[in-house]
């Protein structure tokens, strides 16, 4: 039994100064990789946003030439008028880019990479080189997906869910190469996620600083850890399914081809078996980081830390048993539907724990509304709407009516924009100083938050009403239907709000870039937080610590009566603190 007197001063003599390429491009430093992910996935977020704007133009003003649309080729929008086949490509690629190349890498690629070693007190990830490959395969996957727009017949056009047999048959969908690129890209992305997850899991299990016990880990790390497990086990299923689909398209297999005995529903089962854990991949890290930010902004310990951890685990675990709620009316066995309904409804319970514990954290706090806190509270307020709309769809008879309507589209955006993206705006602002050594503008951050909140609700809330009216998703021209024509003013309102929403995001864009070069220099601990990362200079140096810190307490000791100031860093040793006992690590 040794004590925390670390047996190893960090052997970092090997980190000689490196050239630009090794340092910023083929870097193995987890922070640089996180930042690489940040730039690339923000780019894809922007791409997804552009696609959304085109979708909205067509829905608000069907058949009218899109301003600036004239630059698009004839095969997409002759004279700026969007074609039906281009519209489906837009929807497909919007969903795909947003889910797989914007939100997932933003949450996991950026923050798992950046935060796990910093918050646990490690020098780097367990496998830095694998980590680098994880980024580059993700980048490659994104490029392959983007290439879809430039091949003959255009991009994939079977929805982000790529339901077979439409997706398997170029003659029926009209997309030949695009659909294949979609599969190839997702196989690459799956590989990237698996490599990443493997790294995160190993790092969390093995590479924690002395004293950083499981229940002293910040909730962000807990969430990222559980997310990594979800990613590790869910993405291979998607890869497998995508490979089968690719084979159906290319070498003539018949997995999803009913004419030869294949099963169309098999694709849906495989896709959603992956897909529902995937949506929790898209929310759990957001929840974790929001927990950190809310505790900080409230200057209070998180309310019910342990139940927050169990709620994360519970959501993740239940998340494997609910995939069928996407298939209630797919022709699936209705008894199976009942089972899936119950398991889906049960997920509201751990979610309730999280929501009410966030509120409990704010209760009697000393709320400090910096930009991250604003966004975190916005997250709670908006995620609840999205989560509650999930209950409508979980009830099978009701889902029969609202399935594949704009009610679902509203749900998607409330959980993914109102949830994940708000959390990301908060998290990016929060850890920006540690990434770049500068602080983002507080004033513009606030303006961005309030305008986003306003236009976001104007854009997506009316979609509930539109969906209740029975408006179907993925419809190129709603005015084809008599019963939808009266809704056109509503659609125009949504479209205009969406444009304003997009314009508001440019504030964030400018703030981000401006602060990168001209922002206020950051202090070491600008938010007066307890986490390990704030004991490092901003930006954090290569290799993080000269000597790994020792941890004496959990991460949320705000306003502790033991000290005068309202925070108590995890590494600060009070006279009452005992040195952690460090068991020897087993060798090979």
């Amino acid at each position: 039994m040794t004590t925390a007197a670390a047996p190893h001063a960090a052997p970092h003599a090997g980190h000689a100064p490196m050239g630009f390429w090794r340092k910023y491009i083929f870097s193995t430093d987890h922070k640089i990789i996180g930042i690489q992910f940040l730039f690339v996935s923000l780019f894809f977020l922007l791409v997804g946003g552009f696609l959304a704007m085109q979708i909205r133009w067509q829905l608000g003003f069907p058949g009218r030439p899109m301003p600036g649309g004239g630059i698009l080729p004839e095969t997409m929008a002759p004279g700026g008028v969007i074609l039906p086949e281009y519209y489906i490509q837009l929807v497909t690629m919007h969903g795909t880019f947003m889910v797989f190349f914007a939100i997932m890498p933003l949450l996991v690629g950026v923050f798992a990479n950046f935060l796990i070693p910093l918050k646990l007190g490690a020098h780097d990830m367990a496998f830095p080189r694998i980590n680098m490959w994880s980024f580059w395969t993700a980048f490659l996957a994104g490029m392959i997906m983007l290439a879809g727009f430039f091949v003959p017949d255009g991009a994939a056009r079977a929805g982000w869910t790529s339901y077979a047999p439409l997706s398997a048959r170029p003659d029926l969908s009209g997309a030949s190469y695009g659909q294949m690129l979609w599969c190839i890209s997702l196989v690459c992305l799956g590989l990237s996620s698996i490599l990443g997850s493997l790294n995160y899991i190993t790092t969390v299990i093995n590479n924690r600083a002395p004293g950083m016990t499981w229940f002293r880990m910040p909730l962000s790390v807990w969430a990222l850890f559980i997310t990594a497990i979800l990613g590790l086990l869910a993405l291979p299923v998607l890869s497998g399914a995508a490979i089968m689909l690719l084979f159906d398209q290319t070498i003539g297999t018949h997995f999803f081809d009913p004419a030869a005995g294949g099963q169309a529903l098999l694709w849906q089962h495989l896709f959603w078996f992956f897909g529902h854990p995937e949506v929790y991949i898209l929310i759990l890290p957001a929840m974790g980081m929001v927990s950190d930010i809310i505790a900080n902004g409230s200057r209070k310990p998180i309310f019910g830390y342990h139940s927050m951890v169990f709620a994360i685990v519970g959501i993740a675990f239940l998340g494997w048993m609910v995939w069928g709620h996407h298939m209630f009316v797919s022709g699936m066995n209705p008894t199976l539907g009942s089972t899936f309904m119950v398991s889906t409804l049960i997920i509201a319970v751990p979610s309730a724990i999280k929501v009410f514990n966030w509120m409990g954290t704010m209760w009697r706090g000393n709320l400090h509304f910096h930009v991250p806190m604003l966004n975190a509270v916005g997250f709670v307020a908006m995620f609840v709407i999205g989560g509650l709309s999930g209950i409508y769809m979980a009830a099978t008879p009701l889902d029969m009516f609202i399935h594949d309507t704009y009610f679902i589209v509203a749900h998607i955006h409330y959980v993914l924009f109102g949830g994940s993206l708000f959390a990301l705006f908060g998290a990016i602002t929060y850890w920006y100083p540690k990434m770049f050594g500068r602080v983002m503008s507080e004033r513009w951050g606030k303006i961005h938050f309030w305008l986003t909140l306003l236009f976001y609700n104007c854009t997506f809330f009316p979609m509930h009403i539109y969906g209740m009216g029975g408006a179907m998703r993925r419809i190129y021209d709603p005015t084809q239907y008599d019963f939808l024509r009266p809704y056109q003013p509503l659609n125009q309102f949504i479209t205009i709000s969406a444009f304003l929403l997009f314009a508001t995001q440019l504030i964030f864009f400018v703030n981000f870039w401006w602060s990168l070069f001209k922002g206020k220099k950051a202090e070491q601990n600008p938010w007066h937080d307890n986490g390990l990362e704030w004991t490092l200079p901003s930006p954090a140096p290569h290799g993080n610590w000269e000597r790994v810190p020792t941890v004496y307490r959990g991460p949320y000791e705000f306003s502790s009566p033991e000290v005068a100031e309202d925070y108590l860093p995890q590494t600060r040793k009070l006279p009452t603190d005992r040195e952690p006992v460090l068991a020897p690590v087993a060798g090979a």
Partner: protein, 93 residues
């Protein structure tokens, strides 16, 4: 120093012999036999699982690992079972 308590290596050749014999038994089952198809199926699956367990427990040393690594190793199995069983009910109802 491999694990905290280094274990004695089991007799690997004996396990190899086991695996060999089980494979032979499986092959025997592949012939036309006076037993029902379902019986055959169950026996074959049983033998396959037996062999797989031998490999996992001895060759992969799962038998000698700590409980938490064993848990890690079996986490995916229930998920796999859930997927297959749920989808199969599709064809039984």
């Amino acid at each position: 120093m491999h694990t905290a308590q280094p274990h004695k290596h089991p007799n690997y050749l004996l396990i190899w012999l086991y695996l060999f014999l089980l494979t032979v038994a499986e092959l025997g089952l592949a012939f036309e036999l006076p037993i029902s198809r379902n019986m055959k199926l169950i026996l074959l699956l049983f033998l396959a699982v037996w062999k797989a367990l031998l490999v996992a427990l001895f060759f992969m040393h799962l038998k000698f690992e700590r409980w938490n690594l064993r848990i890690l190793a079996i986490v995916p199995l229930p998920l796999a079972a859930i997927l297959i069983l749920a989808v199969i009910t599709e064809h039984i109802w």
